[in-house]
C-alpha cells in the first residue's frame, strides 16, 4: 500500500496571517501573439488581481512577479532547489518518485529544470490567485517541467496554471512532474487549462500528499486535443479527514489519444474523495479511469461520463472507473456512462431559434456541466469554449 509521506522540513514557522498584496502589472517580454495565447489558457500577466505570476517559455522563466507578502514565495524551482537544502532532501521527488516511470526519470535527469516552487507559510491565506504559464514557443522541443507546491498548516492558495503552444508549433513534448504537499487543514484549489497543438505529446505526472484536515481541489480542462494526453495523478489522503475533489474535462478529436486516469489512496479515517471525468469525443481515442483505494474508513465516488460524437466509427470512449477496498468501512461508489446527442433535444433547442451548431454546443456544455456546481465564471467560459469547438466540429 503506497503511503508516501514527506517529512516536516526545518522551516521557521511564521504565525502571521496575511493576504498577499496585489501585483503591479508585470513587464513581460512577450509578443502580443504569445501573450494572447497564454491569456487563452487563463494566465494574464497584466492582471493586478494575482498574487504572483510566472511564465516559462520553452525552458526558461521569462517572467516572474511576486507580491510582497512574507508568507508566500514563488521562485523558479531550480533556484529554490539550490537555495533550500531541505527542499531537495525532504520534498523533491517524494510525491512523485524519480523512477516512477520514463517521464519522471527524464524530468529528474535535468540539472536546472524549468518550473515553479511555491511555498505558503503556516496559516497564510493567499487571497489572490497565483498563476503560471508553461509555453512551448519552439517547434520540436521537449519541455520537461518540475513544479513543487508546499502549503504549511492552515495555508490556503488558489493556483491557476495554463499550458499552451505557440501557433505554428507543429510537434513537441510537454512532460511534467508536479508535487503538491498540503499540510494540516490547508487548502489548495488548482485549475489547469491546456490547449496544445495537434501534434504535441503531453505527459503530466502528479503526486499530491494531503495531511489531516487538508483539502485538494483540482480542475483540469483540455480545450484542444493534443496528439496524446496521458494524465495519471496519484493522490494520497494521509491524514484524518483529508479530502480531494478532482474534475477533468477533456475534448478528443480525430487522431488524438486522451488517457485520464489516476489513483486516490484513502489512507486515513474520515477521508473523502470525488473524481469527476467528463469527455467529449469527436474522434480519436479517449480512456477515462480513476481507481479509488480505500485503506481506511472513508467515502469516495468516481463518475465518468462521455459523449461520443464521432460519426465515422473510428473513435471510441472507454470508461473504466474502479474501486479497491482494503477496509470494510471504506464506502466507495462509481458510475460510468457514455452517450450521444439526442436528436429530439437538438431540435427542441432549434425550435427556440438556435441553429444546429448553437443547439449542439449548448447540449455539450450542459453535458459537461451537469451535476457540477460552483466552478466560477472563468471555468464556465472555458467549458463553454470546449462545447462550442465540439459543436462546430473543429479541432
Amino acid at each position: 500500500m503506497p503511503f508516501i509521506k514527506a517529512l516536516e522540513p526545518n522551516i521557521e514557522n511564521n504565525e502571521t496571517q496575511s493576504a498577499a498584496s496585489p501585483l503591479p502589472p508585470a513587464s513581460v517580454p512577450l509578443q502580443k501573439q504569445d501573450a494572447d495565447a497564454i491569456a487563452g489558457v487563463g494566465v494574464r500577466p497584466d492582471d493586478p488581481a494575482r498574487s504572483a505570476t510566472m511564465i516559462v517559455r520553452d525552458r526558461e522563466p521569462v517572467c516572474l512577479a511576486v507580491g510582497t507578502s512574507p508568507d508566500f514565495e514563488m521562485l523558479p524551482v531550480s533556484l529554490a532547489l539550490k537555495r533550500y537544502g531541505w527542499l531537495r532532501e525532504h520534498y523533491c521527488f517524494k510525491a512523485v518518485p524519480a523512477d516512477f516511470d520514463a517521464v519522471s526519470a527524464e524530468c529528474a535527469a535535468q540539472e536546472n529544470p524549468p518550473g515553479y516552487f511555491i511555498h505558503v507559510k503556516k496559516g497564510a491565506d493567499v487571497t489572490l490567485p497565483c498563476q503560471a504559464a508553461m509555453y512551448l514557443a519552439s517547434d520540436h522541443l521537449t519541455q520537461a517541467v518540475h513544479n513543487i507546491v508546499i502549503l504549511e498548516e492552515g495555508a490556503k492558495l488558489q493556483l491557476i496554471t495554463g499550458c499552451t503552444s505557440k501557433h505554428g508549433v507543429q510537434k513537441g513534448r510537454h512532460l511534467s512532474v508536479e508535487e503538491y504537499y498540503i499540510g494540516r487543514n490547508a487548502r489548495l484549489v488548482s485549475t489547469m487549462v491546456h490547449a496544445w497543438s495537434a501534434d504535441v505529446l503531453v505527459e503530466p505526472r502528479s503526486g499530491v500528499i494531503v495531511e489531516e484536515g487538508g483539502r485538494y481541489e483540482s480542475n483540469y480542462i483540455a480545450l484542444r486535443a493534443a496528439r496524446r494526453i496521458n494524465s495519471d495523478p496519484q493522490i494520497y489522503l494521509n491524514g484524518k479527514g483529508a479530502s480531494a475533489k478532482s474534475l477533468t474535462v477533456v475534448l478528443g478529436t480525430p487522431g488524438s489519444v486522451v488517457d485520464t486516469a489516476g489513483n486516490v489512496f484513502l489512507n486515513a479515517e474520515d477521508t473523502g474523495a470525488e473524481l469527476l471525468h467528463r469527455g467529449v469525443c469527436t474522434g480519436g481515442v479517449m480512456h477515462q479511469g480513476g481507481l479509488l483505494i480505500g485503506n481506511a474508513p472513508c467515502r469516495a465516488h468516481v463518475d465518468c461520463a462521455g459523449m461520443l460524437l464521432d460519426q465515422t466509427g473510428e473513435g471510441f470512449i472507454e470508461s473504466v472507473p474502479g474501486l479497491r477496498s482494503h477496509h470494510p468501512d471504506a464506502r466507495m461508489s462509481h458510475e460510468a456512462s457514455i452517450g450521444k446527442l439526442a436528436p429530439e433535444q437538438v431540435e427542441y433547442l432549434m425550435s427556440r431559434g438556435m441553429d444546429e451548431q448553437e443547439a449542439i454546443s449548448m447540449l455539450i456544455r450542459g453535458f459537461l456541466l451537469a451535476d457540477i456546481e460552483g466552478l466560477g465564471p472563468e471555468l464556465d467560459a472555458q467549458i463553454a469554449e470546449i462545447a462550442a469547438i465540439a459543436g462546430h466540429g473543429e479541432e
Partner: protein
C-alpha cells in the same frame, strides 16, 4: 382562401412516419389574429400536424405544402421556421440534463433592451423563478412543464404559437395560471384585445375554452380534418354525444362525398 389574409395555410398536406400515413390531404387556413382549436381522439393526427408545421424530423411530407405569411416553408428546418415566428409548446417535451431553463431564456431574450430584467419579470409571471437553474423539464410536474413551455414562448413573442394540450393533467388553480399566460401570449396589449397574435391549440377536454376566446375549431379523424366550425358549438356537441358521434358524422359526410 386568400393567402394575404392567412398567416398559416396548409394545402393538401400528407405526411408519413415509419411507413404509416399520419396526415391525409389536410387543408387548413388560419387568418392573422385568429386562434384555432384542434380536437379529436387520440391518434387522429393532431400532434403530428403541429410537429409537421414546426418542421421536426421524422415527419415526411409526401404531398402538399405549408405556407407561412405567404411563404412556402415546407422545406425549411426547425430553426428557420422558429426564426420566422413559429413556436410550439409541446405536451411532452424532452428533459435536457445540464441545460438550464435560464440558459435557454438568456438566448431567446438576448436581443431585448434589458434581457436580465425581462427574464426575471417573465419568470415571476409564470411562477417559475425557482426552476430557472434546473435542467429543462427535469423533475417538473405536469403543470410546471406547461408553465416552462409557455415561459419560453412568452420570451420569444412568436407571431404564431402552437400548444399541444396545455390544459391536460392540470388542476384548476394551475389551469387558471396557464390560461392567464396563454392570454398574455396571444394578447400582448391588454388595451387592444382584438389585436391578437395567431395560433393553434390542441385541446382534448376543452377546458382552455374557459380562459381563451377561440375563433374556430377543427375536428380531426384518421389524419384528416373532418369538421370545422364554431368552437363552443363543437365542444357542446362533443360534450353531449362524445367523439364517437363526430367520427360517425365525419364518416357519413365522406361517404356522401365519395358517392
Amino acid at each position: 382562401m386568400a393567402t394575404q389574409s392567412n398567416i398559416l395555410e396548409i394545402q393538401n398536406l400528407s405526411v408519413r412516419a415509419g411507413g404509416k400515413l399520419l396526415l391525409d390531404s389536410v387543408d387548413l387556413a388560419i387568418p392573422y389574429g385568429e386562434v384555432h382549436a384542434l380536437l379529436g381522439q387520440n391518434g387522429s393526427g393532431k400532434t403530428s400536424l403541429m410537429m409537421t408545421i414546426m418542421g421536426f424530423s421524422g415527419y415526411e411530407v409526401t404531398q402538399g405544402r405549408i405556407l407561412f405569411m405567404g411563404r412556402d416553408i415546407t422545406a425549411l428546418d426547425v430553426c428557420e421556421r422558429a426564426r420566422l415566428g413559429i413556436a410550439i409548446a409541446q405536451q411532452r417535451p424532452p428533459t435536457i440534463d445540464g441545460v438550464k431553463l435560464r440558459s435557454v431564456l438568456q438566448y431567446t431574450l438576448r436581443n431585448s433592451p434589458d434581457p436580465d430584467e425581462a427574464l426575471i419579470r417573465l419568470a415571476k409571471e409564470a411562477q417559475m423563478e425557482r426552476f430557472l437553474d434546473r435542467s429543462i423539464n427535469g423533475g417538473l410536474s405536469g403543470g410546471e412543464i406547461k408553465r416552462a413551455e409557455l415561459l419560453q414562448l412568452l420570451s420569444l413573442s412568436p407571431a404564431f404559437s402552437m400548444m399541444d394540450e396545455p390544459d391536460s393533467g392540470v388542476d384548476i388553480e394551475a389551469l387558471s395560471l396557464v390560461g392567464k399566460l396563454i392570454n398574455k401570449l396571444f394578447v400582448p396589449d391588454e388595451t387592444h384585445p382584438v389585436r391578437r397574435s395567431a395560433g393553434l391549440i390542441i385541446t382534448h377536454s376543452g377546458n382552455i375554452l374557459k380562459y381563451l376566446h377561440l375563433d374556430k375549431a377543427h375536428v380531426m379523424h384518421n389524419g384528416r380534418i373532418g369538421c370545422s366550425g364554431n368552437p363552443a358549438l363543437i365542444m357542446e356537441t362533443i360534450g353531449k354525444y362524445g367523439y364517437n358521434e363526430c367520427v360517425r358524422c365525419i364518416d357519413q359526410k365522406e361517404k356522401l362525398c365519395r358517392s
